[in-house]
Each structure stands twice: as structure tokens, then as C-alpha cells.
Symmetry: C2
């Protein structure tokens, strides 16, 4: 059902571009409310031990990509719970999802992680 | 009341050392549960727009230190609410608090921010 059109499916799961926030740093201008909400949403997605472990498991897989089927056993939770956590990470732009056949494959959204790392790095 | 013994007061507000987590990176070994909980606690402290703005305001002040009295007006909230948010940031090791006279002064806990930035930086 999904395998025939990977481009379109991938594009649909990408978060909206946020290029304006690419160079925001903590030690630059104080955050405005809009930018603070944007960053808080990403931190909220990362503020859960299970979600952090899922991101870490994806990062540990070859090519920083893992099938959902490889993520369920390591975290010791049911598939619906794991899917719920993965959706939060995709919605926040931390992971990307690509559907192939019956499984979803998750990869790191490196630009989001880089943006957050750059934001927190002391000048 | 507080000004006469700054060393002791500062030490009391420091988080416990977490040197073992200093070099944990997302693309290294998958996170164990303990480490995941440790990082999630820091991300949870950052997962709120007001708290992010407070950290940002502290960072924007000279010497990365600000009096609580300078943080209340910019975020447009009451002092008890601001104090509550600042306590969460201190407890998570994101900010340090030092009491001088009737006011508390907050500074960036750079080592925590560096640890998080290093954790998120793609290898």
C-alpha cells in the first residue's frame, strides 16, 4: 500500500521547515514567545525516558534508521504504546517516518537535533 | 541572612555530580534506563516556554547571571510562579541559585547545557 510512492509519503511526515530558528542560541537575544513555544515542544518530546531510548535505538541502528519492528522488544512495551511515543517524536520533528509495506521505518531528523544542540551550546 | 556565607549556600544549590554522563552521545551505545531518566528530567525542565525564556533571560544577562528581580517583569508572570519555574530549573541542574540578601541570583549551569548539547550532536 505504501511502498510504491516513498517520496510523497516521506514528504508528508516531514515537519514544517523552521529555517528561521536554525541559528537561535541561548546566549543570543532572549527568546520571544513564539520561538520559546517551538523549542519547548521539541524538548517536551524528548522529556520522557522511553522516547529518549527510542531515539537512541534509532541512532544506534545502521544509517540512523530502524524499523518499528526492531524498537518494540528493546523498550519492553506493547506496540500501541511504542507507536504512540514514536508519533510524538515524529510530530515534534525529532524523527522521520517512512512507511514501507506493513512497517514504518524511523530515522533521525538530524537538523532538529543540531538546532537544539546549537541552541544549548554556550557561546 | 544569606550574604555572609556564599560558599555554603552555592554548594547547597548545586546538583549532584553526574560525571558518568558527561560523554554520553545519542549515536553511541543505546541509553540504559537510568541514563534515559536522568536526561529526561533535564529535558522536562526545558519543556516549558516560560522556563526556556527564563533560561534565555539569564543567559542574556552580563556574566550569564541575573537577579530574580530582573526576571519577573520580562515574562509577565507573578513572583511565586516565576520562583516555581526557577526552582524546577535549579533542581534539574540547568540553573544555579545563589542567595544574596533578600534576592536570589541565577546563573547558567554550563556543564549541564554542554552535556545535553553533546548528547544531541550527531556524530
Amino acid at each position: 500500500m505504501y511502498g510504491h510512492n516513498r517520496e510523497v509519503t516521506l514528504e508528508q511526515t516531514l515537519p514544517a521547515p523552521a529555517s528561521a530558528a536554525c541559528c537561535t542560541t541561548l546566549t543570543g537575544e532572549p527568546l520571544d514567545e513564539h520561538r520559546a513555544r517551538e523549542f519547548a515542544r521539541i524538548f517536551k518530546a524528548l522529556a520522557d525516558p522511553t522516547r529518549l531510548r527510542l531515539v537512541s535505538l534509532v541512532a544506534a541502528h545502521e544509517g540512523n534508521e530502524a524499523c518499528a519492528c526492531d524498537l518494540i522488544d528493546p523498550v519492553g512495551l506493547g506496540q500501541p504504546t511504542v507507536s504512540h511515543h514514536l508519533k510524538i517524536l515524529v510530530d515534534a520533528g525529532v524523527l522521520r517516518r517512512e512507511k514501507r509495506g506493513i512497517w514504518s521505518y524511523y530515522s533521525l531528523a538530524a537538523e532538529t537535533l543540531e538546532r537544539i544542540a546549537a541552541f544549548l551550546s554556550p557561546a
